[in-house]
């Protein structure tokens, strides 16, 4: 900006614009700035995770990773994603289908409702679940009468994760399906295909990419969720401690290598998600 600003108007509008975009100096400065920001705020912190995790050597790192409660946390985190992502995929398809293919009263309201978990802090979600399903909560006495315990168990973690991540697939699909419109479905229906067949053969293939993308985002968010899960998990080691909770526990306990080793696992899971996304985009 500053480089181009020296001679504004001297060459008219077009060269001015070209100089901002293509001038070698401006380009170097802009790319350099973006690079520095990326390195300082994104790359280095991630590298630090691995440096710290390996600070006492590979042996200590492996020992920290195969520590039973850390391994269990990895397993629980994966299990949660395995349950939550499919549920949110089904919910997302249903919601997007309903919103983009039908006209009804309160549609705007429904869209707003779907987006609530985006704007509500996860800890609020956790606490509201506690006040609903907890012993002293709204459903507490009913659940206690049947000896059903939801809070502080694996189902609680899945429920809270589901709430926090419920908009991801739906949002992605609504955008995709709104762009595509109804024409293909209408054509299929008018040619005599049943509703279900139309969905399978027309709607689903069209939304494929949006669906995969939404599921991947949802997956990344589920594995990293801390606030809501922290409230409802009870943090029982080896039972209800997810990877993010395990990281906090180890960090609070001055086990730097343990905390960073667990953090490196979570980072690797996230990187794996991103690689999967990149791979999918290339195939597209």
């Amino acid at each position: 900006m500053a480089a181009a600003g020296a001679t504004p108007g001297a060459h008219g509008a077009a060269p001015y614009r070209r100089r901002v975009a293509q001038g070698p100096l401006a380009r170097t400065v802009l790319i350099g700035l973006a690079g520095i920001v990326a390195v300082l705020f994104l790359l280095l912190p991630v590298i630090v995770i691995f440096v710290e995790a390996l600070s006492l050597g590979v042996g200590a790192y492996v020992e920290a990773v195969i520590e039973p409660s850390t391994l269990h946390a990895v397993w629980l985190t994966l299990l949660t994603a395995l349950v939550v992502v499919p549920v949110n995929v089904v919910f997302g398809i249903a919601a997007a289908w309903c919103i983009t293919r039908f006209e009804f009263k309160g549609k705007k309201l429904l869209i707003t409702l779907i987006e609530i978990p985006f704007s509500v802090s996860p800890i609020v979600a956790g606490i509201s679940y506690l006040f609903f399903y907890g012993s002293q909560g709204l459903l507490g006495p009913v659940l206690a009468a049947y000896d059903i315990r939801i809070m502080f168990s694996v189902p609680a973690i899945m429920l809270a994760s589901m709430f926090v991540t419920s908009p991801f697939v739906a949002r992605e699909l609504i955008a995709t399906m709104q762009v595509q419109g109804n024409e293909y479905e209408e054509a299929a229906l008018s040619l005599g295909a049943s509703g279900f067949k139309t969905f399978l053969k027309v709607t689903l293939p069209n939304m494929k990419w949006g669906l995969l993308y939404g599921a991947l985002l949802c997956n990344a968010r589920v594995m990293g969720e801390f606030g809501a899960v922290s409230v409802v998990s009870g943090s029982i080691r080896g039972q209800t401690n997810t990877l993010p909770l395990q990281i906090e526990l180890l960090f609070n306990d001055y086990s730097a290598v343990g905390a960073f080793a667990a953090a490196s696992l979570l980072t690797l899971l996230a990187v794996f998600s991103l690689l999967a996304k990149a791979w999918l985009e290339r195939r597209r």
Partner: protein, 349 residues
């Protein structure tokens, strides 16, 4: 409005039924070996930095219990801030025992949920506190500012680090210990004591939310001349960040910080785990356990064991909340209530 909620609820309910059914089945499968008097596992809920201590204690208990009863037992652990832990138990976390670092957070299990008896402090020795600690000082190597006692904390050239007493139980002990010292010094003159504590607050450059954050401020950001936290933490930090980089300083007078324990009656009775839960807490008073606890820099009541770790435990005069302040209820009302003595010392800076 209700459309999406209904859909979600329906889905969630469907799923839950499956999960809960699965969970219940799993639960039914693992505890209680045939012919046993109780479940094969108990849950001990404890404070956030107790991982190493209980990680060492639990296997010893598990082995002893199995030898005695020939029943295998697993002690599961939950770690977290004890106020949050207490809230979780009130909301249904199935804790057989609690081992906390705040008396008030055990008391709340009685007050808010009736989960334990009112006289829980008389169920185990030493007011149900198998070990204790006290607010103590951590200074930089060689003690360059020559900090020896609470009086040094009001000096102009000393920067003091401890967390915000409005949010941290740890810092409340520090506040009460400093107040107890000042009350002694000024012959019980509360106004002068408040002024003394206020001067300490003025020397605190940053109030972090919790003990761990204050440690980071002191150790990693290298702010301040003295960190005040529990003596056990002081030793833990030295062990973790370098015995040669920090020195421990014990003030002349401090406040007894109990680490109270209780069997959560309602849960234990329902699960049939009272015998093993009680045995677990009794075990914390045994010679074997007290030795481990003392090695983690908590003070124990067994004089012989205390003596073998004497270098870690310099003599200090300990006063109690009951003696100086008339109990936790009074402390809550007079000091920690909104507009109370803590606010007067804290806000006027």
């Amino acid at each position: 409005m209700s459309l999406r909620n209904l859909a979600r609820l329906g889905l969630a309910a469907l799923f839950l039924t499956g999960l809960v059914a699965g969970g219940v089945k799993a639960n039914a499968a693992d505890p209680a070996a045939p012919g046993s008097q109780g479940p094969g596992e108990i849950l001990n809920v404890t404070y956030d930095v107790g991982r190493e201590l209980f990680g060492e204690l639990n296997p010893v208990f598990q082995k002893a219990w199995q030898e005695k009863t020939s029943q295998p037992i697993t002690v599961n652990q939950s770690f977290g801030g004890t106020s949050k832990q207490a809230r979780s138990i009130l909301e249904g976390l199935q804790a057989d025992t609690v081992t906390f670092n705040q008396v008030t957070d055990v008391q709340i299990l009685h007050d808010k949920g009736g989960l334990i008896a009112a006289d829980w402090q008389s169920k185990f020795p030493n007011k149900s506190s198998p070990f204790y600690s006290l607010p103590s000082f951590l200074v930089r190597a060689g003690n360059p500012k020559n900090i020896r006692d609470w009086d040094d904390l009001i000096r102009d050239d000393v920067k003091v680090i401890f967390p915000n007493p409005k949010t941290s139980g740890n810092a409340r002990y520090t506040y009460l210990a400093a107040t107890a010292y000042a009350l002694r010094k000024f012959d019980g003159d509360q106004a002068k004591a408040t002024e003394f504590v206020q001067k300490i607050f003025l020397n605190v450059p940053v109030f972090d939310a919790g003990g761990r954050a204050s440690t980071t401020t002191f150790v990693e950001r290298e702010i301040g001349d003295v960190l005040i936290t529990f003596e056990a933490e002081v030793q833990g930090i030295r062990k973790e960040f370098g015995l040669d980089k920090y020195d421990a300083v014990t003030p002349s007078l401090s406040l007894l910080a109990e680490f109270p324990v209780a069997v959560v009656d309602q849960v234990a009775d329902k699960r049939g785990s009272r015998a093993v839960a009680t045995a677990y807490l009794d075990f914390l008073y045994s010679k074997a356990a007290q030795e481990i606890i003392a090695a983690h820099a908590y003070r124990v009541n067994d004089a012989a064991i205390l003596a073998t770790h004497a270098t870690n435990f310099p003599p200090v005069e300990l006063v109690t909340v009951e003696d100086v302040f008339g109990g936790w209820d009074k402390v809550a009302a007079e000091h920690f209530a909104s507009g109370g003595l803590l606010d007067q010392a804290f806000v006027n800076q």
